[in-house]
Structure formats: C-alpha cells, structure tokens
Symmetry: C2
Amino acid sequence: MNTISEQPATASPAALNTSPLPPAFLAALQQRFGPGQCSTALAQREQHGRDESAYVGVPPPDAVVYAESTADVADAVRLCAQHRVPLIPFGAGSSLEGQLLAVQGGISLDLMRMNRVLALHPEDLSATVQPGVTRMQLNAALREQGLFFPIDPGADASLGGMAATRASGTNAVRYGTLRDNVLALEVVNAHGEVLRTGSRARKSSAGYDLTRLFVGSEGTLGVITELTLRLYPLPQAVVAAICGFPSIEAAVRSTIATIQYGVPIARCELLDAATVRAVNAHAKLGLREQPLLLMEFHGSPAAVREQTEQVQEICHEHGGADFEWADTPEQRSRLWAARHQAYFAALQTRPGCRAITTDACVPISRLADCLLASVADAEASGLPYFLVGHVGDGNFHFGYLIDPHSAAERAVAEGLNQRLVSRALALDGTCSGEHGVGLHKIDFLRQEAGPVALDAMRSLKQALDPHGIFNPGKIFL
Amino acid sequence: MNTISEQPATASPAALNTSPLPPAFLAALQQRFGPGQCSTALAQREQHGRDESAYVGVPPPDAVVYAESTADVADAVRLCAQHRVPLIPFGAGSSLEGQLLAVQGGISLDLMRMNRVLALHPEDLSATVQPGVTRMQLNAALREQGLFFPIDPGADASLGGMAATRASGTNAVRYGTLRDNVLALEVVNAHGEVLRTGSRARKSSAGYDLTRLFVGSEGTLGVITELTLRLYPLPQAVVAAICGFPSIEAAVRSTIATIQYGVPIARCELLDAATVRAVNAHAKLGLREQPLLLMEFHGSPAAVREQTEQVQEICHEHGGADFEWADTPEQRSRLWAARHQAYFAALQTRPGCRAITTDACVPISRLADCLLASVADAEASGLPYFLVGHVGDGNFHFGYLIDPHSAAERAVAEGLNQRLVSRALALDGTCSGEHGVGLHKIDFLRQEAGPVALDAMRSLKQALDPHGIFNPGKIFL
C-alpha cells in the first residue's frame, strides 16, 4: 500500500517541475489570473491539499487557481504545459482515495466558480452544466421542470468531480452510474485546446468513446469544463421501506431474488447492525439494530404498489421482518440523510479517528461470501468498523476507524483492505465500485488489471498527456 | 464522401505492407494455421471482402484466417505485426458502412468459429461468450434460464461485431446499447498480448474505461476475443401494439410525450407510409399505409396494462388511431420480423438496387424537424427511399435505393446523406447512432468531432496500434 503518512511519494517523471514552482511560471500565472483568482496563501493551499481520505502529512499544492471559464482553464493548462508544472483539478473536495493530494506539487485548479447550469432541455431529458455545479444544485434547478438527476454518492459533490471518479451511489441499481448518464463532455486537453466528446443525441457510434474515456480518469487526462447529462422524469410515486433481517446473508439473498425477479428497485442499501447503532445515535432514528435493507421504489402509484408487494414477499421468504414505511417526503429525506450520514455517524463513535474505506464490488451472487469473510476478518482484527452496501450492485464499503497517527492501526486496516480486495478479485470483482483509484488503490489496480491492461492505460495517458502534467502520481505510477 | 467505386482508397501508412502479401508472411501464416484455418481461395476471400454497404469494386482481402481460439487470434496478430500486414476482424458480415472492406489489403480474421457460450451466471444476470456467438444463438441458450440479451440490431449479427460497432437497435430506448451492456472484454492487442478490460462486477471505477474504448472501435484498436454481457429477466408480460398517425410529426410528438411521461417503453419504431407499403408487399401484413409507430411494452401484466393505457391516451391526444394489438408470441414475432425486414423489403421494390443508408441521431425534440426536412429533400430528389426510425432514441435511417453502378444516382444519394448529416449536426446530433463510421462516414466524423477531438482519437489509435495494422483506413485517415 501507498502509505504517504510514513513514506511520501517521490516518484515523478524526470521532466516535471515538482515543488517549488518555477518563478517564471508563478509570475506568468499571477499576471494572467491576478490576486482574485490566484493564491499562494497557506490557508487556501491547505484547503486544497486534502480530501476525505485518511492520508496525512502530504504538503499542499504550491498555488491555487480559481477558474471562472473554459478560457481560464485553457490558459492555466497552457502555462502548466509550458513550464511542466503538475495541475490537479479540484471540485467539492469530497473524494476518498487521495485524488486531490498534490503528491508532486504543482497547482490546484479550483473549478467551483464554474457553477452555472448552462442549458436545460426538458423535452430531451438533458441538461448542460459547468463542472462546479453540485448534484443538489442541479436538482434544485430541475425540480420545477418535474425532472431530476439521479446519481447520488451521498456527499453534495460537484458534477465534474463525480464524472472524474465515475461516481454512483444509492440509485445506481436502477439508474446506472455517471458512466451511463453523461451524454457529452467539454474537456481542455494537455495542450490547452478545447474538445467536445459528443453531442446531445442519446446514443452514438461516431468514433471512439472519448466521453467514457474521460469519465473515471480522475483528472489525469484532461480537465472537464462542461457536462451534458441525462435527466429523468420525477417519479409520480416514491415509497421507501426498511426491512430487518436475521443475517447479512438473508438480506443479500433477498436482494438477489429482487433483481432476478426484474423488480426495478430504485435503491437497495444494506447497513450492518453496528452501523445502524451509530446512525441511531447520530440521527436519533430508532431503527432496529440488526442488518437492515433500506429500499426505495419509483414509478406510478400502481407500479410502486406492485413492486413493494413483490419485494415484501421476497423478503419474508428470506426471514425479513414486516416493512416499515417512509412514504412522506419528510420521512424519506430523514431516512436517506441518515444513510448518507452513516460515514460521519461512524466517525463520531471514535472521536479523532479517520476511516480507511474499502470500495470493492463483486458479482451479486458472490456478495454474501465476500461480506461474511470480510466481517469475520474485521471482527478478528479488533478495529472498530462500519459496513454499508449498495447491495443491488454488489458494491459495499467497510470503514475501518483508525487513529490517523497510529502506524500500527493503519497497517492493520490496510491489511484488512488488502485481504478484502484479494477476496473480491478472486470472486471476479473489482477493487473500486465508485470511489476511483487515486493514490490508495494503485497497488490494487495493478493486481486487478494485470500488466497488459495497465500498459494500455499507461499508453493512453502518454498519448493524451505526453508531459504528464495532469494529476501525476494517481491511478498508476 | 469516400466513393470507392470510382476512386479506390490508396492512402496507407508508409510502413504497411499492402497487397500482395509478403511471401514470408504468407508462408508463416500457412504453416501456423494449415489449410483448414487459412485460405487464399478467391471464393473465401470474396466472401470476406464485402458487407451490407453499397460499395462495389474493392478488391477482397489477400487471405482469410479462421480463428478457433484466443491463441489463434494472438498468433495471427503477432504475425501481422511482425510483417506489418493489415488485419480485419470479421464476424457475421452484416455491417453497413464498409467496415469489413480490405481497402489496404491484408488478411480477414474470421471469428465465427469462436462461437461458444463460455459461462452463464443467471444469479448475476451475466454471460461470457466468444465473439462469434450471434445474438439469436445467445438468446436461444438463455431462454430456459428465463433470461435474455435485449440488444437487437435486426440482423443476426455476431456479438463481437455488435460490440465493435457499438450496435443497438429497436430495444435501445429501454435497455441501452452495446455500450451499456458489456461488463468486460477480452482483447488481443497489437502486440498479440491478451488483456481483460474489466471484471464481472456490475460497475467499476478502477482505472480508465478500456471496455468502452474497445466498444465501438470497429476493429481498429484490437481484436475482441471474449465478451461478458449483461442479461435481463424475460419480462412476465410482453405486448406489442401498432398505431397509425396522420403525420410523421404526430408520431414523433407522441413518442416525446411517452418518454417525458417516464413510460418505460421497450420498443418504439417509426415506419413511414412508403416503407409500410414495402413491408406489406414483402411480408403480407395488411398494415395501414400511413406513418406507424410499432411499440412494445415489457413488465408485469399490471405494469404492461398501465403502460399501454398511458401510451394509448398520449397517442390519441396526438391524432393517433386505436391500437392494433399483437399479444401472442406469434403475432409479435411476425410484426418484428416485418420491421427487421423493412430493409430487404425496400430493396425488393427496386430489383438490383443497393441502399445507401443514413444513421443520424438527434435530440428527440429536434427529430420531427430533422425528419421532415430530410423527407422533403428526398422527395425532391426523385430517388426511391425508405424511412424507419428508432424514434424513442432520436435515431432514424433513410435508405436511398440506388443502382450501384450509376455514379449519378450515387452522387444524388450521397448529397442527400450529406445534407441530412449537416442538418443533424446543426441540431446537436450525431452522424451515427448505431452503424459506426467505417469508410462511409469518415468525412462526417471529421465534421462532427472537429480537429481537436479527432486528433485525440488519432493519438489513441497510435498509442494502442503503433504500426496501424488493425483495420487501417477506417473511422479516420
């Protein structure tokens, strides 16, 4: 594992200017952007030198540039290319795998001022937005059109950042991930040129799929400056339900049956008993402290009724309790807020801790095996942890709660993570369902992809970013 | 336009050995594969020197190799790489844009003997197949599991070929395209090495999306030797309906309203009156000869009933007639067979003709404008034509029926096509919804993508296929 806290990453392409910045570069940057858009103040650099990962001790970027337009991005990239300075695109700062850390110095390019919804096309179920628009901001803008953008990773992330990590979350079982819901991107390439990866058509076979290449590239191939996204009509009816199970396995078996039966369930989230306890303490919810499925159903009133009846029957067959319903918007909001706060609720059970999170995703038939072995491993370690799962996708997250300054605890947590990933890969799964690779999964990706596929990725990086200025040191070395 | 009939393509990378094959290469190929798997007989070469496009006069490949395993593919690629000989992957031969034509000579690598379903995972709704398995073969293998693979481009294409062109068809409005339904690929790269692009997990954020890069690359980046595909439960109820409209616009407006209303319609196909006439003559169907929507609804019996009621109401509001139903499997088969045979039915209205097909896809709000202007243009030209549309996706096909040996008619048809594509691009659409670029849309792609995106595609090609052996002369020059 890459353990920056103890051993800072130093590898960098020979030609790259790592910290400090070349004076000529800094002067040109300051001249182009002025004090309102360019800062070397420690507070701003530190604010851009961290994310939600558990890394500590990485120096912040050498400067922060606040882009306000595609032209700003293009000029910043051109200056970085000219002076061989690393550039890290920065959105809401909610990434989990160290994607935003300036491990080779350089500048952080903050895109949050590019926060306009540029166009709404209700008839086509699409919208074009700047990368700093957050998912909640977009949904607020859509509400009166009767539309929504479903992808919901929990955090109010920026849509540019969500595209960069190929984010998904609780709704993906029905609506897919960012991969499935981006029609086109505008991107600034490594030469500071602007390209568009697609049109507003719902599908295309016109050449290589540049859209999908930039989605999930974690800022290593270009800077996303516009996104055209797919939207969905707000469902006529939405009903959420909670069901308790005697075991994690019973909850997983119910989920498999639900999906095999073809029920278009919109959300299907697993919480283990300990996580329910933490959520109860944090959000005062009074949920039963046993493995729970939190579910949501979207459709016409009749369709939702039918879905809930089917799933209730399936859950009963697997030992599930009667459903508890959350059918008013307020009850549902409270429920999903609690689910989203599971991460922070768990952190509060151990003040001062950080979570080392796992993100494996396995074929759903293997999920119970993978979960149960990983639970046993975590229990044996003695580390506190939480467990939540987008169980309809086979994706789950353990969070091992460590003292971030304890090398011993970090080693235990990383050992658990390594064994969990090996288990997932052996079951034909992936090391990352939705968080991306960043720094934290570089070794896992090598293990998962194998040398030939990893070489293909390296070739693509070299082809599109020949000087390696875009977010260097991430995804692979 | 690339008009090979009059002006054979001659451009080729300097280092490539175009026809005839280097003797040392041919000797090595024959030694490795023997007469049972390698042929230079004219009949076999000619069989691999054509597709369903309207090109005539392109010389066939210099040899045909029949791969029976991934190892065969790897060895064929290694020999081609060593001797700088072009290699064209060949499946069912049903591509429409000249993808399979050996415009720079070389070998055709026939993958149809690699036709085994390697693994079925009903619980995970996935299957792994070799590239020569056709969609009908796969669906026959799935039927007793209660599952199906929905993508249906009409022809009984090979799944490898469907992935290579990012195919879709009548079901895409509900189930997406090949892009959305491939979990992972095994690919032989330009060095003859084997790589796997993903796992069986339903989603992943582990590195660059190699799967989506190879999907739609038309054999220019590697040879697909295995596909892991998403499957779906066979719907409990399937109902098809036909509705006649006073105008194309009324049919399109009904479709827009259906999709905006969130009805999960499974198929929504437009036929213009002339095409209905051709289909009636060909399949003896007795359909009303006016613009028709052919629709299909999937779900539980109650859900299907609700969907059909909603759509019937929407259609009535737009001047649609009462639905005619096709609810037995036999009636439905007959209806969709007729739809799929529209192409051949139209060809039969003018014996000896070939169709120059268009494939534009536009945002659905622009579809009526694009269609009506293109109908007017086609009517004014005097050329016979047909018109069908995957109207729920904004994708439609004109087929201009030309005498393939008449340069004048070809020029008229290509002029119609060019104006149609310009119209689609001006409406923020794409030149290809599902057929790919091949030879026929090289100029259109240049117009659509623009120089920066096209350069990115060229860089990717150069990175993954440095000697340009894979299907040279396709997608871009």
